[in-house]
Structure formats: structure tokens, C-alpha cells
């Protein structure tokens, strides 16, 4: 039984709507600029891809913007957009519809704010909404409530692979028939003082503060770390028979899912890139494809010196001497952490649908260790039948999704 994608919900620094983000990527625009949400002057990295206006309108009940964390609100808006795109309106979606929405961190801004209150005013001044706004699974829970999705409701956590794993785990639940429909994806809002300081302490972030638009340069020799971003991506996944019964438009087939662990290090990828390669190989096997069938790879590549080189190696190990075109849209969007895998899944689907590959920006000085066609700097018309999307997370956790044009 095929599992199909019938709705896309994407909220990124480019705005609300999958097409809006895809059009911006194809146009070569960047979402990266100086941090405005807080005073970042003491930070190593002072740039980010921020969602500057949630533009909730009447989609969120009044007061929720004040009550809940941004990662939760963005998930609800993306889920609503996905459901509407799928022709499902605002629900209710019923007992066999799941909400599987992962996040890497959860309500970091909420935690920081309440900790400041605790330190300044003591324990009796903590908001009763602190815990609900902080805990990761409230993203999935609020999605389930807003859309009346009453089957399994969980938030898988696998750092920057959370969104991809959520979609993959939903695929398995759909295939075995435990559910008919899933709102699956990821969300993240960690552009906060503590988040930026923490990734900065690891020397994970780009410090090209004076040139925000040129800071995220996956695969380029001048790359010096990722640029933190925020957003949410949700797909509506359905069993094909369920989608056919209600006459839904099929935007793509979710043809395969691979997942693996490096079992190597808390933050560094395995230097042989075996886990990444196995994730891709398992996904292709799951989809019943040969490497040569794949026409586009949306890479995880975050613009870190080591990670990009190892992903390139893994792609060569799987696809051989002539891999398909590979682009990293993080060059424009920054790294959306737990949302990245889901947003990039939607981008891969739109690349198939439009026959257009979004570019990897900022390719100025090719790295001789990266032997890939990275679709440098400009979008490229390219008809592909199958695309894969990679997402790798701290802890050495890997996920690959395979999408097919219907």
C-alpha cells in the first residue's frame, strides 16, 4: 500500500506557505540576517534566519500567542496549512488521524524566560503555563487539538533529524494500517540567547557576522559553521486508498524511509560516514530503487567543515562516481534544526513537482574534497522522478526520505 503526500504546510523565515518558501529559494533569495529577537552583541554568532511575524490572524485562538511557545504556535500554523492544502479544512480529522510532530529542543525561550523569573522573583512567580509551553510534545498535542486528530500523538526527538524521523515513523504506522492519515513533521524555535550561546560554545555556528547573506555556504571551501534558523514543516500523509476515496490531490508518493545510528560520538559524525550512507541505502532499498533512479538529493549539509565533507563522501559511497545533483537549501534558509528535515522534505517534493532544483548559494570557492554537482548559485530546471532528503542529528542519528512524483 502506497503512502502519499496530499498536503504541505511550511512556515519559514520566508513566510507562510510551501510555495512561498520554494519560490524564494528558486529566486536565490536569503532568509539570513542579523539577529533581531534579542541583543546578540555578546555572542560569537550574531546572525540567524528568524521568523519575524507569525501572522496568525484568526488561525490561533486569542491569547495563545502569549501562552504557548513559538515552536508550538508555528507547528499549529503549518499543520493548518497542510490540512487545508490537502482539502481537509480545519478538521476534525478523527480517530485514525495521527499528529507526529518532532522538535529538537522544545520551548527554550519559555524555559529561559521562566528561569529569569525564578532567579529574580522566586518560585511562586512561575507561570502555570510554563510547563505546557516548554514540553516538546505540546507541539503535536496542540496540532491534534486544533485539527481534531485523535490517533497517536507524539513528538519524536532526534535533534536536527526530528522532522524527518517523524515523517518516516508516520510512514511505518500508515503502511501497517494502524492509522489512515498523519500530520507529520517538525518544528523549532531556538533562536534564543541560550540556544545561540550553546551552539556558539560548540563552535558550531558561522561567525561571518558582517556578511549574513554569505554566511551559510554548504560545500564551499569558505564554510565555517551553520546559521541557526527557526520554522515548522508538516506534511499530510495518507494511505493511498484513503486519499483516493476522498478524491484528494496526490502531490507525491512517500516511497521510502531509511534510518540509522552512527553509534560513534555525541556530536561528531562517524569519520567513515557509514551511518549516513546506510541511512540512504536503506531508504533506497525500502523504496525498491537503484541509486541511478534518484534524480535529486536535498542534502542535510549545514555548512560545517566536517559534516558537509562526510555527507558528500556518503553520497559518493552510495551513488558512485556519477551522483545526481545535490543541493543544500540551508544556504538560503539557515538550519531549522528539528524542523529542517520536514521543511526540506517539502522542498524536495516541490522540486519534483516543478521540475526545478533549488540552488546551493554562496558557491565561490569549490572544495576539492566535495566531488558533487551542488547546483551552485542558481536554480536549475531538471525533471526528476525520485528525490531523497537527508537529515542527520546530534547523537549520530540519521534519516533519509524518498519521494516520488505521482
Amino acid at each position: 500500500m502506497d503512502v502519499v503526500v496530499t498536503g504541505l504546510g511550511v512556515l519559514t523565515p520566508f513566510g507562510r506557505g510551501a510555495e512561498r518558501t520554494f519560490d524564494a529559494l528558486v529566486a536565490g533569495r536569503t532568509a539570513i540576517g542579523p539577529i533581531t529577537r534579542f541583543d546578540a552583541s555578546g555572542h560569537r554568532s550574531r546572525i540567524a534566519a528568524e521568523v519575524t511575524d507569525l501572522e496568525a490572524g484568526n488561525d490561533l485562538p486569542p491569547g495563545d500567542e502569549r501562552t504557548f511557545d513559538r515552536f508550538q504556535l508555528m507547528a499549529v500554523l503549518a499543520a493548518l496549512d497542510a490540512a487545508r492544502d490537502a482539502g481537509l479544512g480545519d478538521g476534525p480529522l478523527g480517530d485514525r488521524a495521527a499528529a507526529i510532530v518532532g522538535t529538537g529542543i522544545g520551548g527554550l525561550e519559555t524555559i529561559e524566560r521562566n528561569h529569569a523569573t525564578l532567579a529574580a522573583k522566586g518560585p511562586r512567580r512561575i507561570s502555570p503555563y510554563f510547563i505546557p509551553a516548554a514540553i516538546p510534545n505540546l507541539a503535536a498535542a496542540l496540532v491534534s487539538m486544533r485539527l481534531g486528530a485523535r490517533a497517536i500523538c507524539v513528538s519524536p526527538a532526534s535533534a536536527c533529524a526530528s522532522g524527518a524521523h517523524s515523517i518516516g515513523e508516520a510512514l511505518w504506522a500508515l503502511r501497517v494500517g494502524r492509522i489512515d492519515l498523519a500530520l507529520a513533521g517538525g518544528t523549532e524555535a531556538a533562536v534564543t540567547p541560550l540556544g545561540v550561546a550553546g551552539f556558539g560554545a560548540m563552535r558550531g555556528l558561522s561567525e561571518r557576522n558582517d556578511e549574513p547573506a554569505r554566511a551559510s555556504r554548504p560545500f564551499d571551501r569558505g564554510r565555517d559553521g551553520f546559521v541557526i534558523g527557526e520554522g515548522a514543516g508538516i506534511l499530510v500523509l495518507e494511505r493511498a486508498d484513503h486519499a483516493a476515496r476522498r478524491g484528494a490531490r496526490v502531490r507525491a508518493i512517500l516511497a521510502g524511509y531509511g534510518a540509522s545510528a552512527d553509534a560513534y560520538h555525541i556530536t561528531q559524525p562517524d569519520p567513515e560516514a557509514a551511518g549516513m550512507a546506510r541511512s540512504m541505502a536503506l531508504a533506497l532499498e525500502d523504496a525498491g530503487l537503484a541509486p541511478a533512479d534518484v534524480g535529486y538529493v536535498n542534502a542535510h549539509a549545514t555548512s560545517t567543515p566536517l559534516g558537509d565533507r562526510l555527507e558528500a563522501k556518503a553520497i559518493r559511497d552510495v551513488f558512485g562516481a556519477k551522483p545526481p545533483p545535490v543541493s543544500s537549501t540551508k544556504s538560503a534558509l539557515g538550519h531549522l534544526l528539528g524542523a529542517a528535515g520536514a521543511v526540506e522534505a517539502a522542498i524536495a517534493i516541490l522540486a519534483l513537482e516543478r521540475g526545478m532544483l533549488p540552488p546551493t548559494l554562496n558557491q565561490e570557492d569549490p572544495d576539492p574534497q566535495i566531488e558533487l554537482d551542488v547546483v551552485p548559485n542558481e536554480a536549475r530546471p531538471h525533471a526528476a522522478r525520485f528525490a531523497i532528503s537527508n537529515a542527520f542529528g546530534f547523537g549520530g542519528t540519521n534519516a533519509t526520505l524518498v519521494f516520488a512524483r505521482p
Binding site: 490572524g57 484568526n58 488561525d59 490561533l60 485562538p61 486569542p62 491569547g63 495563545d64 512567580r125 507561570s127 502555570p128 503555563y129 505546557p132 496542540l142 487539538m145 486544533r146 481534531g148
Partner: protein, 97 residues
Amino acid sequence: MSQRKHGEAARPAAGGGNGNGLEGRIVAVIARVMNAQPASLGREIRFVEDLNADSLRVMELVLELQEEFSIEIPDEALDKLRSVGDAIGFVQERVAG
């Protein structure tokens, strides 16, 4: 979040309330926490029954009243804070004293 109706209650204007002075300030806090128009908050309006507040929302109101007026509201008093009038009376008593 599904319990509340969407888009009906507008955000109160800053400093809004039923008249000026202490009562107006109390009503402004209630309006902000409950997402209600200050003008709609007559003394007889009950938080749970009329405004659809859940227990967390009532607790948030207590917290905000404590903050705004620098008073302590003991947990034992929670049961008595059921309406706009209750809140006005309770705060007035403590601020005046």
C-alpha cells in the same frame, strides 16, 4: 485551545478598563489574561462559567494580580475568586489595607 472560540475576543486596549483608578486597573488585568474586552467584564461575570477559563487560566490571573498590585493571594483564597466582582473586592481590600 480548541475550547475557546476563534477570533471573537479582541485584545484589550492598553490601560483599558471600566473607568479609571484601581478598579479599572484590576479589570484591565482580567481582560488581558482572559482575552476579553474590558467593557464586557461586569462584576457578575464568572471566570469559569462565563469566560470558559480553565484552572491554569485562573491561576495565571492570580499570578498577574499579585504581580500588578504587589499583593499576596494565598491558595486558600482561590475558591473565593470566581468572578470579576470577587477579584475587584479581593484586591481592593488588600491594596487599601
